[in-house]
Symmetry: C2
Subunit: 107 residues, 2 copies
């Protein structure tokens, strides 16, 4: 099945206010997030690289020592192991892509 | 530099009507496309896996033997080497992610 209706995927609240639907392929994990306004994402890191793209809303993100407000049209790249955190300023829609796949997001 | 304003990236028309801005990381290529209505993408394949997400518009896509109209909220997964093609029904915004990175898209 090449085609996936994202809303058919099971939704999981992984951190309070962060609701994900996730596709895993051989080399990647793609996470489609809806985030409630004012939800903090605690600092964390993982071996997988990450690219974050804001689709809708406004999100304050910290990657390593850098901080920026992400709006649609701004992306963030997070190398393997770099600590990152954030807080949603408004309700947001975010797409995160990871490689290698996030085995910890397979459940 | 963790943060990237996508519109600051150089834009390249890779196929007639298909304009990309591209981020390459160690393991991934992320391509942000704007596509003009009625633009065919000829059948092609590549060793990198691909996940396509429609952000805006309507796009008819063929992956292997499967065909579907992609609207926002529909994703397509294309394993390594599988032929795929398509045509934009309207102007579209599309995000493609690839792993391993697309060395052929580095110029």
């Amino acid at each position: 099945m090449a085609f996936i209706k994202i809303s058919d995927l099971p939704e999981k609240e992984r951190v309070k206010g962060y609701f994900s639907r996730v596709i895993h392929t051989e080399h990647m994990t793609v996470a489609y997030w809806t985030v409630k306004a004012g939800s903090p994402m605690p600092q964390h890191s993982h071996p997988s690289e990450q690219v974050t793209t804001l689709i809708e809303g406004s999100f304050e993100m910290v990657v390593g020592e850098e901080k920026r407000i992400l709006d649609p049209g701004i992306a963030a790249t997070i190398p393997s192991g770099v600590p990152h955190s954030g807080i949603s300023i408004t309700d947001c829609r975010i797409i995160d892509v990871f490689s290698p796949p996030r085995d910890d997001m397979k459940s």
